[in-house]
Amino acid sequence: MPDLSSPTSNLPLTGIRILDLTMVWAGPSGTRLLADMGAEVIKVESARSWDMLRSLHFLSGPPEQWWDKAAYFNHNNRNKYGITLDLQTPRGRELALRLAAMSDVVFENYRADVIGKLGLDYADLRAVKDDIILVSMPSHGKSGPESGNVAYGTNVEQLAGLASLTGYPGMGPHKSPIAYGDPNAGAIAAAAALAALLHRRETGEGQHVEVAQWEAMIGNVGEFVLAWQMALADDPAADIDAWSERQRHGNRHFSRLQGVFACTGEDEWVAVSIGTDAEFSALCEAIGRPELARDARFADVVSRRHHQDELDATIVAWTRGRSQDEAADTLQAAGVAAAPVLKLQRLLYDRNLRARGFWETVSHAAAGEWDMEGPVWRMSRTPAHVRISAPMFGEHNRWVLGELLGLSEAEIAALEAEHVTAREPQAGVHS
C-alpha cells in the first residue's frame, strides 16, 4: 500500500482515478492540480521513457539515486503514485489498458502521433472502458497541417502571439523566463477533465478532450486579437509590425501611470500602478510632493501619460531612498496600488504567503526535507495539503501491480525480468 497516513476521504476529488502518461511540465502540472484535490493519480514511466525532469537536479556528482532528487520533478509530482511500465512492449500495453479500465481519466502529452503508435488512443481505451475520458495535450493539436510539429513552453507563447506583445519600449519581442505554455495548458487541461467528468455524471458519456497548447494560450491574449481587427477596420493600411511594437511598452499601460521603480538594495524594485485622479493625489501626498496633484501637466489621465517620463523621475527620486517593502507599505497605506517586485529568494519568505501557510515542509525518503508550494485551490471545507511526496522511480509498482491489478509475486518478478518494469531509469536518455 502507498503511504495513506493522511486520509484522502475528505478531499474534493476523492474516488477519481487518473492514469497519467504525461511527462515534463504541461501534463504533470495539470494532473498535479487534480492529485492535490484528492484524485488518485498513477504516473507511468519506464526505463527507456522516463520523466526528463528527473535529470534536471543540478546536484554535483551526480549523487546516488539522482533520479529521485530533482526538486523540479518532486514539486510537480507530489501527491501522485508512480509505477514503471514499458508501454512499447505488448505486456506493458496490456497492463496499461487494464489500468485504464479501472480509471476515470487518462492524461497524455505526447507528440500528436505517439499515443496512436502505442495503441493507446481513445478508441483503444474506449474498447476497455466505454465512458473513459482521455485528455490529450499535443502542442499543435491532433489535426491540421502542422500537427506533426514539435514545440515546448516558450515556443507555445511565441506561436500564440504573446511574445510579440511583450518587450521593452522600442525593442523586439521578449520571452517569458519560464516555459509559460506548460502550466497554462496544464491548468486548462485539469479544468477540462473536470468539465468532462461533470458531463459524464449527467449523461454517462465519456469523451476525448484535446488541449492544443498553442490554442490554449491564445485566449490569454484574446482582447489583442479583437483589438487588431478594430485597428484594421479603422485603417485598412494599418501595419501589424508597427502596431505590435506599440503594444510592447514594458511595465507601462495605455491608461494607467505605472512602472517599476528602483529602491535601496541591489536590483530591488517596487511596482506602482495609478489609475484615478484620487490615486494620483494620494501618490503625490505620500511622496511628499502634494503640489504635483495641482500641476496642469499632470491634471488628468491623458496628461499624466504624456508626461510619464517626468513623473517616473519624480517617483524614483522618492523610492531610491527606501526599501521595496517600505515603499510598498507607504503607498498602500495612502491608497495606491504598489507592491515589491519579489526576488525568488524573498518570495519563499514573503510575509503574505507565510501568513497564509502557502509553503509546506515536505519530507521525501530520498531527497530529504524542504519547503514546497501547497495546493493553490484552497477549499474551506475540504482543505488540501501535500499528503505524499513525489514517487521515487517505480515506487508504487508493487501496490499497483499486486493490489490493484492482482498480479502474483511470480508475475511481478517476471515483469521485471522481462524489463517491462524497472527499478532504475536508463542513463543517457535525456542527455
Binding site: W25, S164, T166, I188, W377, R381
Partner: protein, 397 residues
C-alpha cells in the same frame, strides 16, 4: 450535443479580468452565467479601450467583448439591501457564485460564503483575488502589475542590466481566472457528490508563485541562487528568440532535439565539432553556438524557419503577431477562430476555446449588452414588469 457544463448555473459578481475570464470559460462551456453589473456603468472593462469605431462606447470594448461571451447580463446594485436580497435569491438557484472582492468588503456587503450557504447549502463560492482573503496583503490595492510583481515571474522577466518587465496583456489576472475556473469545477463536483458546498479560494500571487518552472523548486531545495537572474531573451543559445529577415523566431531545443535541430539548420558539421559534441560542451561554448545560430537566422524568414522546424521535427516557431494568428493555415484548417456577430460591435473573429471537447462542443454567444437580460432573468425570479420599473426608478437595477 450539449456543452459539458449545461447543467450548471453561475452567479457572477465580478468585474475586470480575473473573475470575468473564469466565468467566460464556464459560460462558453455551457454554464448559464448571470453576470451582475453595476447599474449605469457596468463592468469596469466596458470602459477599457480600444473600441470598435475608435470612440469610447460601453458596448464596443475589445476587452469586455472578449471576456464576457455567452453570459447573460443583469444590472443590480448589490450595495443596496434590495439588491443584496435579489442577489441571494439568485444564488439560491445557482451551483456557484464567483466573487472578486476582499473579505472586508464581502463582510460589509454581507455577501460571504456563509450568507450564500444560508440560502443554498450546496453552493460553491469561488473567491478570486490578487492576494487572498487572509494575510497582510488582503486589503492591498492590486492591478495586474502588482500581481505579476509579487508572484516571482516579474523579477525574472527582462534583461539583466535593465529593469524587470511584465509580459504583454494581463497574464497574472488571466492565470488567476483560469485557476478559479478549475477550482470552481472541483468544488462543484464535490458539492454534487456530497450535497454540501464550500468556498473555493484562488489568490493570484499563489498561482504565479506555483508556476515558476524549475526556478522556485530548485531554489527552495538547494538554496543556490545560480538560476535566479534575469537572462533576457536567451536562456541558452538553443532556448531563445532570434531575429530573422521579416521578424523573429523562437527555438526551444532540449538535448534530445539536437539532431533534429541540426537537420533543420543544415549544419551537420556541428555534430562532429568538439565544441558542440554534447549538451555539456554546448553549454560551455554557448556564445559560439549562439553566433552560429545568428548566422543561420539572419538568412531565413519566419515561414522558412518554421517550415524547416516542422519538416525535421525541431522545436522552432515563429513569433506570431495577431495578424499571423488570423492568417494561420493550421488554425484555419482546425477552424479555431469563430466569427461572432455582436449587435453593437459588429462581426469579428474570436479565438476558440482553450480545450476542444468535440463530443460536447462549446456554444459561444456574443457578450451581452448592459442589462440585456434583465427582463428574462428577473422574470425567472418571479418579478413582474412593474416591479422592474420600481427597481429601476430606485436605482437598484
Amino acid at each position: 450535443m450539449t456543452p459539458p457544463l449545461s447543467s450548471l448555473r453561475i452567479l457572477d459578481l465580478t468585474s475586470g479580468v480575473s473573475g470575468p475570464w473564469c466565468t467566460k470559460l464556464l459560460a462558453d462551456y455551457g454554464a448559464d452565467v448571470i453576470k451582475v453589473e453595476r447599474p449605469g456603468t457596468g463592468d469596469e472593462s466596458r470602459g477599457h479601450g480600444p473600441f470598435t469605431g475608435g470612440v469610447p462606447d460601453r458596448e464596443r470594448s475589445a476587452l469586455f467583448l472578449w471576456l464576457n461571451t455567452s453570459k447573460r447580463s443583469i444590472t443590480l446594485d448589490v450595495q443596496t439591501p434590495t439588491g443584496r436580497d435579489l442577489a441571494l435569491r439568485l444564488a439560491a438557484q445557482c451551483d456557484a457564485v464567483v466573487v472578486d472582492r476582499s473579505s472586508h468588503e464581502l463582510e460589509r456587503l454581507r455577501l460571504n460564503h456563509e450568507d450564500f450557504a444560508a440560502v443554498n447549502p450546496s453552493i460553491v463560492t469561488t473567491s478570486v483575488t490578487a492576494f487572498g482573503l487572509t494575510g497582510p496583503y488582503a486589503d492591498w490595492r492590486a492591478t495586474n502589475l502588482t500581481s505579476y510583481a509579487t508572484g516571482g515571474q516579474h523579477y525574472l522577466t527582462g534583461d539583466g542590466d535593465r529593469e524587470p518587465i511584465q509580459n504583454g496583456g494581463y497574464h497574472a489576472l488571466y492565470q488567476a481566472g483560469t485557476w478559479a475556473f478549475g477550482a470552481t469545477l472541483a468544488a462543484v463536483w464535490n458539492a454534487r457528490e456530497t450535497g454540501v458546498g464550500q468556498r473555493a479560494e484562488v489568490a493570484g500571487q499563489e498561482v504565479m508563485a506555483s508556476i515558476l518552472e524549475i526556478y522556485m523548486p530548485d531554489f527552495a531545495y538547494r538554496k543556490a541562487e545560480t538560476l535566479l537572474t534575469r537572462r533576457g531573451n536567451m536562456a541558452t543559445a538553443v532556448v531563445g528568440i532570434y531575429p530573422v529577415i521579416d521578424g523573429h523566431i523562437g527555438i526551444h531545443a532540449m538535448p534530445k532535439n539536437w539532431p533534429q535541430l541540426l537537420d533543420s539548420l543544415d549544419m551537420h558539421w556541428m555534430a562532429e565539432d568538439e565544441r558542440f559534441k554534447d549538451n555539456r560542451a554546448r553549454l560551455r561554448n554557448n556564445d559560439e553556438l549562439m553566433a552560429q545560430l545568428y548566422i543561420w537566422t539572419a538568412g531565413v524568414t519566419k515561414a522558412e524557419a518554421y517550415e524547416r522546424g516542422g519538416r525535421y521535427r525541431a522545436p522552432i516557431s515563429p513569433v506570431n503577431t495577431m495578424a499571423d494568428l488570423l492568417a494561420s493555415p493550421h488554425l484555419d484548417a482546425r477552424q479555431f477562430c469563430r466569427e461572432i456577430e455582436h449587435p453593437a460591435a459588429g462581426a469579428m473573429q474570436y479565438p476558440g476555446s482553450p480545450a476542444r471537447m468535440p463530443a460536447t462542443p462549446p456554444q459561444v454567444r456574443p457578450a451581452p449588452l448592459l442589462g440585456q437580460h434583465n427582463a428574462e432573468v428577473y422574470d425567472e425570479l418571479g418579478l413582474m414588469a412593474r416591479d422592474l420599473a420600481t427597481l429601476a426608478a430606485a436605482g437598484v437595477i
